[in-house]
Subunit: 343 residues, 2 copies
Amino acid sequence: MLENSVFLRACRKEPTEYTPIWLMRQAGRYLKEYRNIRKKFDFLTMCKIPDLAAEITLQPVEQLGVDAAIIFSDILLPLEKMGIRLEYSQGDGPKIHNPVRTEKEIESLRIIEPEEDLPFVLEAIKKVSKELNGKLPLIGFAGGPFTMASYIIEGSHTRNFIKTKKLMYHNSDYWHLLMKKLSEVTVRYLNAQIRSGVQAIQLFDSWIGYLNPKDYADFVLPHSNYVFSEIEKGIPTIHFATGSSALLKLMQKAGGNVIGIDWRIDLGEAWKHLEYKVGIQGNLDPVTLFAPLPILKNRIKEILASADNRNGHIFNLGHGILPRTPVKNVIALVETVHEFSQR
Amino acid sequence: MLENSVFLRACRKEPTEYTPIWLMRQAGRYLKEYRNIRKKFDFLTMCKIPDLAAEITLQPVEQLGVDAAIIFSDILLPLEKMGIRLEYSQGDGPKIHNPVRTEKEIESLRIIEPEEDLPFVLEAIKKVSKELNGKLPLIGFAGGPFTMASYIIEGSHTRNFIKTKKLMYHNSDYWHLLMKKLSEVTVRYLNAQIRSGVQAIQLFDSWIGYLNPKDYADFVLPHSNYVFSEIEKGIPTIHFATGSSALLKLMQKAGGNVIGIDWRIDLGEAWKHLEYKVGIQGNLDPVTLFAPLPILKNRIKEILASADNRNGHIFNLGHGILPRTPVKNVIALVETVHEFSQR
C-alpha cells in the first residue's frame, strides 16, 4: 500500500523502520542514461514527450534504490502557456525572451488550464504511476511564487534580483497581482498533478533566501500560504528553499507538512527552530558527493545523528544533484542512509 | 580625538549619541567621480597609484557624511605577490590565470612582505590619514582565508565551489597548508595597514556562507581564529560574511569585536543569537537603495528598532553598494540613520 510507504509515513511524521531518501534532480545530467537521451533531444522536448519524461523519471529509481520518484519536468513549464517565451540554452540556464515588468505585461499573463495546457506533464505522471504500480510514491512539483516571479521579471540568471525587488518596492499593487496570478496557476497545476496520480508535492521556492525576512513576510508569504491552503487535502506537501536559514519559521507559517532546507544550517538546529511541529527534509551539501567515501559516510552519519531518530526526517540533498556527480557515490549515499538509519 | 569617534566607540560597544554608518563599497562604481577616474585607468591601476586610491577613498566621505572611511583597494591584491596572475575584466569579476590546485602549486605560493610587496596600499593609507587629519577613522581590510582560497582554487566566479571543497575533502593536509599561508599573509597585511594608520580592520570572509557549519568549523574557523588572534591588540576588528545566518556563533568564536551580517536575517535576532557579546554591523539589503524614499526610510527605521538602541550597532549594508545605485538615496540613507538614531 502506497499510503504505508516509508516516504509518505515520514511526510506524516509517523514512525518508519529507516529514514527515507530521495534526491532533488535524481533524474538528471549526472546519469549516463539521461545524457544519452539529452544527446537526441533538447531539454524542453524531453519534458514534453510523455514517454521520454516517464523514462527519465524512472531511470534513477531502481539504479539508486530511492524511496520516492519525482516526475521529470521543470518549474518554468507553466510559464509558456501564460504567455512567456522560454529558451533553455546549454549551460546558461533558462532565458526568457519577453520578461514581464510593466502593468500591461502583468495584466496580459494568462491563467492556465493544466489539463489543456500541460497535458504532457499529466500524461507522463499517469505513465510513471502505471509503471511504479503502487510500489513507490511519485512526487509532483511546482515553482514557488517568488521564484517564478523573479524568473519572469529578470529574464535570466541574476545575483541581485534588482528588477524583481524594484517591482516589489515601486509598484506593490502590481507585484501582488503578479503573485496572485502565479499562485493561482501553481494551485491549478499542482492539483492537476494530484488528480493525475502524484502522492505528494514539493513547492520549490528556491530563491526566497535572497529576501530579508520582513520582505518575505510582506510580499511572498501570503501568496505561498494561499498555494498551500488550496492544495487538495490529505496530500503531503514539502516546502523547499535555499539560503533560508533565517526564514524557516516564516516558511512554516506559509505552509508545508515538511520544510526542505539546504546544507547551510545544522539540520537538528533547524528542526528545533521549527519546534519539531513539521517534518524536515535535507540536508547534505551536493558537493559532498564529490568527497571520498569515508568523508561522505561520516557526513551522512552526522546528519542522521542531528535528526536524532525523530519521526519526520526525509533525507535529501540541500539542492539538486550537480552534473558530473559520481553515480557510485549517489548509490552509496542511498545505501548508507538506509543502513545507518535502521531503527 | 579619533579614539572618541562615534564609529570607534560603537566598535568597542560604548555609548554613542547616534548610530554610526559606513557602507561597503562606498567608494565605487555608483559614484560619477569614481566612474570618471575609471574611464582613464583600469581597476588594478586605480588600486596601485596611491594618489588615485587616496582620492577615490575620500570621494564619498564628504559627499555622504559617513562616520568612517575605508581604504580603496581589493581583497585579491596580496595574491599577485604570492605568485597569482590576476586579471580584472569589465563585468565578469576577477579572473585568475594560474589557479592553484595541486600540492606543488600550494607549496610554491610565496608569503608576502607587505612593506615591500604592497607599498602602494600602505602609501595610500598614509595619504588618506593625512587628509582626514584626525577627523574620521579609516578602516583597513583583507579577504578572509576561505574566500581567498576559493578565489585562487576556482580561478573565476563559481556558484558551487566544487574545486574548493574537493581540495578540502580529498587533501585536507594541503588545504590546511594553503589556509595557513593565506592566513599568515593576511595577518602581515592587516598589521602593516595598522602600522600605516588605519584605526580598525574588517575581514571579508564573504563566501563562507556556502559551507555547512561542520565544514566551516573544521576547515576554516581555526585559520580565521589565527588571523584575529594575531592582529595588533587594541585595534577593533569586524568579521563580515554573507549567507552566514547559521554560522554566526562560529564566526564569533573565530573572532572579531563586531560581526558583520547580510540582510537575510533580522538584525535583532542575529544579535540575540550572539548574546549581545559583540558589536553588530548591518543590515540593509543593498537593493533597498533602489526603493522609493518612504520605503527606504521605513526599512531603516525597522533595522534601528531591531537594534533597540543597544551599544555596539554600526549601520551598514548587508553587502557592497551596487552599481547604478541612486546617489541621492545613499545620501538620504546616511542622513536618515543619523536622524532616526539620535539618543
